[in-house]
């Protein structure tokens, strides 16, 4: 499972961080930082919730 974030699309709303704070954080620049781009399978539920929560679909999950 790999997380890809499109920083050009991200609006820094932080929904991903709210859903899965161990994997996403809104950085100093106001855009998302992916803290762990290749999470272990056991975190799938949280990471998927975060990806789905992004209002502007800036996050993608592969694998």
């Amino acid at each position: 499972m790999k997380i890809a974030a499109d920083v050009d699309t991200c609006q820094g709303l932080g929904m991903c961080e709210a859903m899965a704070p161990d994997f996403f954080e809104v950085g100093e620049d106001g855009y998302v930082d992916v803290l762990d781009a290749a999470p272990a399978e056991e975190h799938r539920k949280h990471v998927m919730a975060a990806v789905a929560a992004c209002p502007v679909s800036a996050l993608r999950l592969a694998g």
Binding site: A18, G30, P55
Partner: protein, 406 residues
């Protein structure tokens, strides 16, 4: 599992209900009924990029084709639900009857109109794509703009008009805007964002009359007798839940919203509600019944209602912290939690960079930030954990010192 799920209201909460049901493994039929002609789109951008950016398109959340092919939805767009036949378990629309085994109501809310302005050109609310097109067309033509109601949407429209270099006046009947949503002190601080940008703000003065000539608005006369001229008047007077079509079929709150329990079930078995239309108890805030008008609330509730509607198991309960954002003059305002507090404390100086914390007893229950994207979700976590007030204040103070010394 039910045989057919019907979702009424094809916007954010309705879409998430459909997705929630499918993600729970539901394979039965789903009908989605929506009064607007379009597949679900994002309203939040209507007061932001859609008004300020050249050639901005509406932000669609999904296409008709994806709804039909990927989610297997029987789509009824441009169709209005007119009532429920509880005995037959039918949704009655202006075209047909649709039988349901489970029903999710996600009809959202409708903006209050300015009294006595029906049919006048140059007067608009801002809720739908059609509204936004009207407002944008008038702004393109260089309209002098009046906004009545200095809430979040009115403030975003003021900010958009200002960004386009238009003359803009913001009029608010209350002495302090946003008192109900963020408290008076913070409302006052946010109003300064308008003043600093140079937007004219008139507070504590009501509109006496909307002036017009030949069917086109020309300005407003205020209660103090003064007249402000305008070519475009946008009413940001708040919304009322869109439940008129339901009659007395389900229990309604006195504001017209649908009363739900923590699983979003209404008073009638098999009928659920979600989004701007729904009142639900917030476990985190002593079970207080709240009807929120926030994007994330509509998304989360929609999804939960959709899952619960098709599930045979114990329903899932709501568990989240209210959150909204708003963009003014290039500043990002964010709020988490509830404004219903014993005390509101402004940490550090007001204006951009500000953090306001809301206390109930010895807990932190809310936080408002301006241009603090990095901290707001950390405060949200403290609120979700019913965090200690003193610790939250210390945390915010340290952030503030960091920001100042850097």
């Amino acid at each position: 599992m039910p045989h057919r799920l019907v979702v009424v209201g094809a916007s954010l909460a309705g879409l998430r209900a459909v997705e929630g049901a499918r993600s729970a493994g539901y394979q039965g039929e789903i009908s989605l009924v929506g009064e607007e002609l379009w597949a679900p789109y994002d309203r939040t951008s209507l007061a932001k990029a859609y008004l300020t950016e050249q050639n901005a398109e509406m932000v669609t959340l999904i296409s008709d084709r994806e709804l039909r092919d990927d989610l297997g939805v029987d789509l009824h767009l441009g169709e209005r639900a007119q009532g429920l036949d509880l005995a037959a378990r039918d949704v009655v629309t202006d075209r047909t009857r649709i039988r349901y085994d489970a029903l999710v109501i996600a009809t959202g809310a409708t903006p209050r109109q300015l009294p006595g302005t029906e049919g006048l050109r140059g007067v608009s609310t801002l809720r739908t794509l059609d509204d936004a097109r009207d407002v944008r067309t008038a702004m393109d033509a260089g309209a002098r703009v009046i906004i009545i109601g200095a809430g979040f949407i009115g403030s975003e429209v003021a900010s958009a008009a200002h960004k386009r270099g238009l003359s803009v006046t913001l009029i608010e009947a209350m002495p302090t805007p946003l008192s109900r949503s963020v408290g008076p002190a913070v409302g006052e601080m946010l109003t300064d964002l308008h003043r600093e940008a140079g937007t004219a703000v008139r507070l504590g003065v009501g509109v006496e009359q909307v002036l017009h000539a030949n069917g086109q608005v020309t300005g407003v006369r205020l209660a103090d007798g003064s007249v402000v001229e305008a070519d475009l008047v946008v009413a940001g007077l708040g919304v009322t839940p869109a439940t008129g079509w339901l009659g007395a079929a389900v229990d309604l709150h006195r504001d017209g919203g649908i009363v739900c329990d923590a699983s979003l079930a209404t008073s009638v078995p098999g009928i659920w509600a979600a989004g701007d239309v729904a009142h639900a108890p917030q476990a985190l805030f002593d079970g207080e019944l709240m009807r929120l008008e926030h994007w994330t609330n509509a998304a989360e509730q929609g999804s939960l209602a959709g899952r619960n509607a098709v599930s045979r198991q114990e329903p899932e309960l709501l568990d989240s912290v209210p959150y909204f954002w708003s963009d003014w003059y290039g500043h990002r305002v964010q709020f988490v939690g509830t404004p219903g507090a014993d005390e509101v404390l402004l940490v550090g100086p007001p204006g951009p960079g500000a953090i306001a914390l809301y206390r109930r007893g010895n807990r932190v229950v809310g936080a408002l930030t301006v241009d603090r994207q990095r901290v707001v979700m950390k405060l949200r976590r403290r609120i979700a954990d019913a965090g200690d007030w003193d610790e939250a204040v210390t945390f915010a103070r340290e952030l503030d010192v960091l920001a100042v010394t850097r």
